[in-house]
Amino acid sequence: MSSRASSAKIPGAGMLRETGKLFALGLDVARGIFQRPFQLREFIQQSWFIASVTILPTALVAIPFGAVISLQFGSLAKQLGAQSYTGAGSVLATVQQASPLVTALLVAGAGGSAICADIGARTIREEIDAMEVLGVSAIQRLVVPRVLACMLVAVLLNGMVSVIGVLGGYFFNVVLQDGTPGAYLASFSALAQLPDLWVGELKALIFGFIAAVVAAYRGLNPPPGPKGVGDAVNQSVVITFLLLFVVNFVITLIYLQVVPAKLD
């Protein structure tokens, strides 16, 4: 009963078609955000759910992540004789790159997989069909609240990861690498600037959107059967990861071109 046509004569045509459908769903969702009525209850429930499955793992990942960056950068800075910039460097790396990615990986891995499994199970049990037949758009009713919830949680988590990552970096730099607390704190604002935080949050917002849309897309179009749902969840996480790194690359590139570095 899959609606996919098997006319994949041109190599890559199937992939292009899937990409197009994914993009179309993204547009539908973007339009659905502005359509009333807004599903407030579903949004709050989903936000709470995604937050509850992501907060702890994210925090646990953020501490070693911040520490690794700090240690790496600390030892590098030491060799170059730029110890006083250790704090600045690790803050920049954490806030701008590490934190949105960690957030997105966990939102996709924990939240996105749950969304995909949930919607996928509803699809194969014909619940989505039933909902559509009752005159309720599944995109409006189910997907939009989840996408918004993912975006909100990603942005909030990103803030938390930034703080925890920087604290972790501080701890390891001061305790293990004999850095001075004063120098670490003082150099905070030497390289980092406010736009770094904004771009970090913007990335988290976009990553949250991508993670949720990919999860919803795979959930709404699973391969047939219960195993299909499992495959769909698997694929949704992998596809999201691939997209995240590409999008991250593009945003970083644009950001570095548009916003001048502070020391220039």
Binding site: S3, S7, A121, R122, A130, L134, G135
Partner: protein, 382 residues
């Protein structure tokens, strides 16, 4: 009154595999229709195409002037509110209990207060025999209950068109009979257009006003029940009698060799799996006494009498027999006797091959109805 559904040249295929093509039929408003067909002929796909869940390749499906196949998304959602659809296993929302499931359409589409919603939901649950189970989750109840709950949810918006995908699958014969009665009662009360997709012969013989049959990727026939019930079409005959002898095989079609082999076996005395010949017009299920008369029946009679001369002779005979003497006078038909127990229009050898057929001509609707279903106790049903 229910909405009319006009389907013209509907064609659907998945990739290269055609499901059915050029299906043209007309669900008359307020009448009950049944779509028959062997498993795997795309009956469910047909239902889903009718409500725009699947997009047909060609053709039209017009409801209240809106072509479901080509209309805009907002129009589609608007039109779907006219539908109540019963899916094969109920398709209830697994995360909600029965009460919330049935209340869902009301909460989404109406501004009714919770007390009003409660009244409607409990009424529909009682109607489908689920009173007291409203707190249960769909995973905790039997398949039959899920089906009935799905029906309750489909009915809650007072739909103009009710589509049932195999209402009998997974139900015992008694519950199937109750469900059939419920559908007929509903039709009497809200005059909705009903389409039932099934392969249950009993339902097909007693419930509908019109019967259609899908086979070999097309609509074999669609028309008044008498036409299909008296048809000589080999596919219809085989299907109604549920026997192996005939064009329908285990996979959808069978080849000549297989057919010849089975014929030879049957000639040698091997039983072909059928029971008695059940063709012929049997009395139709009537609404529970006390309910209003089905207005669809009256409209259908007028319609059928207008096209009577175009129908096959056996069907004509069946229709005329089912009329009361006053109606015969009204329509100006029925000069010949109806007490004869032969089906005079059939070829002689056809009659001869089925001696001992358990079927008999319906003598009068009233008496046989009284035997078939004693009037249930009156309960306050509004």
């Amino acid at each position: 009154m229910g909405a009319e559904v006009v389907i013209e040249g509907l064609t659907k295929s998945f990739g290269k595999q055609a499901i059915w093509r050029d299906v043209t039929l007309n669900l008359p408003p307020g009448e009950v229709s049944v779509m028959l067909g062997p498993s795997g002929t795309g009956k469910s796909v047909f239902l889903k195409s009718m409500i725009g869940l699947l997009k047909p390749d060609r053709g039209k499906c017009v409801i209240n002037g809106v072509d479901i196949v080509r209309c805009s998304e907002s129009k589609l959602y608007e039109t779907r509110k006219l539908f109540g659809v019963l899916f094969q296993d109920g398709a209830l929302f697994g995360s909600m209990n029965l009460y919330d499931n049935v209340a869902f359409p009301l909460r989404e589409h109406t501004k009714k207060s919770e007390t009003e919603i409660r009244r409607i939901v409990l009424e529909k649950l009682e109607m489908t025999g689920l009173a007291g189970a409203e707190k249960k989750l769909p995973g905790e109840i039997s398949g039959g209950m899920r089906k009935r709950a799905g029906l309750a949810r489909a009915l809650v918006l007072d739909p103009e068109i009710i589509l049932c995908d195999e209402p009998d699958s997974g139900l015992d014969p008694v519950r199937t009979a109750y469900l059939s009665q419920l559908l007929i009662d509903l039709n009497a009360q809200i005059d909705a257009t009903i389409l039932i997709v099934t392969h249950n012969i009993n339902v097909a013989r007693t419930v509908p006003d019109n019967i259609g049959m899908l086979f070999r990727k097309e609509l074999v026939m669609f028309g008044p029940r008498e036409v299909l019930l008296t048809s000589d079409e080999p596919v219809v005959e085989q299907f109604l009698n549920g026997r192996r002898l005939g064009p329908i095989g285990m996979s959808e079609e069978k080849d000549q060799a297989q057919m010849a082999l089975e014929q030879a076996q049957a000639d040698a005395g091997h039983h072909d799996g059928s029971t008695d010949d059940v063709r012929g017009v049997v009395p139709q299920l009537q609404p529970t006494p006390g309910l209003p008369e089905r207005t669809g029946v009256r409209r259908r009679k007028d319609r059928v009498m207008r096209i009577l001369h175009t129908l096959p002779p056996a069907a004509q005979e069946g229709i005329i027999e089912s009329l009361t003497p006053e109606e015969r006078v009204h329509y100006g038909v029925g000069g010949h006797s109806v007490t004869t127990s032969q089906r005079g229009q059939l070829p002689v050898d056809d009659v001869a091959t089925v001696p001992g057929s358990g079927w008999r001509e319906p003598q009068s609707n009233q008496s046989s109805d009284a035997q078939r279903m004693p009037p249930p106790p009156q309960q306050g049903r509004s």
